[in-house]
């Protein structure tokens, strides 16, 4: 008999897993894998997506007894996902090499073309370019792990201070202060690039 996993109550599945039915966890995984992947794809490099997603589900399984009926499973899992991504960067930053700050000619050309962006279509096309992705990574790589996650959640994703604080387990005041500092630092990183948009 094939069970419709969308119709099964999350708390029922969780209680099944806690009672020892390990395989029931697969239902939760299948139900929420796409939501978790969406989060992970935004926060970690392509090559690490699969490994981090697996870590998130393993962490979720291990802390399943902490899941309360009043919480929504998706939200609870999102918290684990974001914190795992943050942990990934904390570990990565300890052993990383110095980030690249010099722009290549290809990046300079892309930046100069941005000044000509007028329509929504060309704006969307510009965002899809490989150079845009590389520059975004280069900018984020110059931030610390804490600044990075704050910039991603608050400034790039558009979450409120409260939402980001709930996801990271920080206080709202802490999020606001870090967000302000990180944004200032990011502006400093982007300043020479904005000059490049004027042309050499």
């Amino acid at each position: 008999m094939v069970m419709d996993i969308q119709k099964l109550d999350d708390f029922f599945i969780v209680s099944q897993v806690i009672e020892g039915n390990v395989n029931a966890f697969e239902h939760l995984m299948k139900k929420y894998q796409e939501d978790v992947l969406k989060i992970v794809r935004k926060h970690v490099p392509v090559n690490d997506v699969e490994e981090i997603t697996q870590d998130i589900f393993v962490r979720a399984y291990q802390s399943l007894s902490g899941f309360k009926k009043k919480n929504r499973f998706k939200q609870w899992l999102s918290v684990i996902a974001v914190r795992t991504c943050y942990d990934f960067w904390r570990k990565r930053y300890r052993s990383r090499e110095k980030p690249i700050t010099e722009l290549s000619d290809r990046h300079r050309d892309w930046l100069q073309h941005l000044s000509a962006v007028q329509s929504h279509l060309s704006y969307h096309e510009a965002a899809q370019k490989k150079e845009a992705c590389e520059l975004l990574n280069a900018a984020l790589d110059q931030l610390s792990a804490k600044e990075r996650i704050i910039i991603e959640l608050v400034h790039l994703e558009g979450l409120s201070g409260k939402e980001a604080a709930d996801l990271l387990g920080w206080s709202v005041a802490n999020v606001k202060i870090r967000s302000f500092r990180a944004r200032k630092k990011l502006h400093g990183i982007l300043a020479p690039w904005i000059k490049e948009m004027e042309g050499r």
């Binding site: 020892g20 697969e26 299948k30 699969e50 965002a127």
Partner: protein
């Protein structure tokens, strides 16, 4: 010529859009089979009926209160004038009993 603010806005909005596009990028999957393999290796989760787990949990929960109690007791013990009370007590204890007759003789 566009202002520096407009350029900053343009660059940040394009980078924001690039970030959003990552979400839909068709790369990497959850690797369900591999994850379930790892989870099966971990095995069933410890149940709440486990006495040892319960005891450990209670001990950890009570530890801050116990620590506070120890500190408060230590504070009061050091503040208490135990030594002088002991001295007074020993004074009474060592005092020789003098009879009324002895007092007159002296």
């Amino acid at each position: 010529m566009t202002s520096i603010f407009k350029k900053t806005d343009l660059l940040t909005s394009i980078l924001r859009e690039t970030y959003r596009l990552r979400e839909t990028a068709n790369n990497g999957d959850a690797g369900c089979a591999h994850t379930m393999e790892r989870i099966r290796r971990i095995g069933p989760l410890p149940t709440g009926n486990d006495m040892k787990m319960w005891f450990e949990h209670v001990v950890w929960r009570l530890s801050p209160a116990v620590l506070a109690l120890i500190l408060i007791t230590a504070f009061f013990v050091t503040r208490l004038d135990v030594w002088s009370a002991h001295e007074v007590f020993s004074l009474f204890e060592n005092t020789e009993e003098i009879t009324l007759a002895q007092l007159f003789i002296q």
